[in-house]
């Protein structure tokens, strides 16, 4: 259950975003992808779940290249992108059940209700998602994290945006629990998030990133640095 990249490169509109990137994230580990806007964070995340083709290199999940065996990855992955993937004309609970069905991990309406309650949306479960606020919509999307069977690979693009303090606390505790149970987490954020205390790496995708400066001799354009050791 290891996510690995080999000499991964990505170029967009003639600019090389990253080049020869080797990463390895083991079960129970988190990888934070940082860098300024336009550094290629979202592109990296999309490549990791196979939505975008890398310019060169491979992504391996459980040791298998993901373009060869996409279903192996698709059974395990939870991708949270820029869009919430919710339908305005369906209720929160309908959206959640549909999303889990499509991902091949269906849940009962009782489980969906509990997951929504876990993210503080218990009273909105029969509300049309079109009537919810931005933060509430993101919570509906993220409620899939509170369900079993659980995704083994979490790829979250800016999951902490637009969430209030209680929702942040709920999300981080969910993520901790997933990591504790051996999931692999890759995420981006611009906030200083309290996911420390876990085995945690950071990859910085910019030539001007401060982390790069300290390792300028050793490294080309990015640095993978450990951020803490599991307690």
């Amino acid at each position: 259950m290891t996510l690995q990249t080999q000499q991964l490169s990505c170029a967009r509109a003639g600019t090389v975003l990253f080049d020869m990137l080797d990463l390895m994230v083991r079960p129970g580990e988190a990888l934070k992808v940082s860098g300024p806007n336009g550094a290629g964070k979202s592109s990296l995340l999309r490549i990791l779940c196979g939505l975008t083709e890398p310019t060169s290199g491979h992504v391996r999940w459980q040791g298998r290249a993901i373009h060869r065996q996409p279903d192996l990855l698709h059974r395990a992955v939870f991708y949270f992108g820029h869009h919430s993937a919710l339908k305005d004309d369906l209720t929160a609970i309908e959206n959640l059940r549909m999303a889990t069905l499509l991902s091949g991990r269906p849940c009962s309406s009782e489980q969906a209700r509990q997951a929504l309650t876990a993210l503080g949306l218990g009273e909105f479960k029969h509300t049309m998602v079109g009537h919810l606020s931005q933060g509430q919509r993101r919570r509906v999307s993220l409620a899939r994290l509170a369900l079993t069977p659980q995704p083994r690979l979490l790829i979250l693009d800016e999951p902490f945006n637009a969430l209030d303090q209680p929702a942040l606390a709920q999300l981080t505790s969910l993520l901790r629990q997933h990591l504790f149970e051996g999931a692999v987490l890759v995420y981006t954020t611009h906030q200083d998030m309290p996911l420390d205390g876990l085995l945690h790496h950071e990859v910085c995708l910019a030539r001007t990133c401060p982390a790069t400066v300290t390792n300028a001799l050793a490294s080309p354009a990015w640095v993978v640095r450990p951020m803490g050791i599991a307690a």
């Binding site: 369906l90 991902s103 091949g104």
Partner: protein, 221 residues
């Protein structure tokens, strides 16, 4: 896997039921074409009867094209399409399910409305089955071929016009055989045209989901 496909079709039908305006737009367009031709042509009963199959077919083709750009746009805009492509179900099957639900929402109503318009044009009742059958096959061909165009033009500005330019040449064989079947003097004359149309649908059924999924991956890249 089947449960995923059934759930997807059910979801699309539910969404269409909650927002019926989109379905009605297509249907209204088709009904308008049928209603306006007699007014423009005049009260020449024989001429109208001769033109009726052609009017029905061109009307169905244009209505189908009108609805085509909606096939993936909503799912693309809200990110559901990405989640669909990350589903363990093969993308070509998911696309076949999307096309099926699109046909149920946009094609089937046209097929059901066509006999009523035919009667309005004074067509003989015994012609109705073959006209309806030709339109069933025809709307399937339109939906399957249109899916390729819809996937290729996803996220482009002016996508509607591009779909028309891309897909219209592909629609022509279906139009020629379908209108010929609908125009035929009797069931015996219509059969070869219907068979050719059916083989066209079979070929589309085999190739279109596969081509559409390749086009979708390009559009989402």
């Amino acid at each position: 896997m089947i449960t995923i496909l059934i759930a997807l079709v059910k979801r699309d039908l539910k969404l269409a039921a909650r927002r019926p305006v989109e379905v009605l737009t297509t249907l209204f367009f088709f009904a308008m074409v049928g209603a306006l031709f007699p007014l423009a042509v005049g009260a020449d009963k024989e001429l109208l009867r001769r033109m009726a199959p052609a009017i029905l077919w061109v009307g169905a083709l244009l209505s189908a094209m009108l609805s085509m750009n909606r096939l993936f746009v909503a799912d693309f805009m809200d990110g559901t399409l990405e989640q669909l492509l990350l589903s363990p179900c093969p993308p070509s099957l998911l696309i076949a399910a999307k096309v099926l639900s699109h046909w149920l929402v946009a094609g089937l109503p046209l097929v059901l409305l066509a006999p009523i318009i035919s009667i309005q044009f004074g067509l003989a009742p015994e012609a109705l089955p073959r006209i309806t059958l030709s339109l069933v096959l025809g709307t399937w061909a339109f939906s399957l071929l249109g899916a390729i165009g819809a996937a290729l033009t996803l996220g482009l500005r002016g996508g509607g016009l591009l779909i028309a330019a891309l897909v219209l040449p592909l629609y022509l064989p279906a139009l020629i055989f379908g209108a010929a079947a609908a125009n035929a003097a009797n069931a015996f004359d219509a059969t070869p045209h219907l068979q050719l149309l059916a083989s066209l649908v079979a070929a589309c059924l085999a190739l279109s989901p596969w081509a559409t999924s390749a086009a979708l991956k390009l559009s989402l890249d």
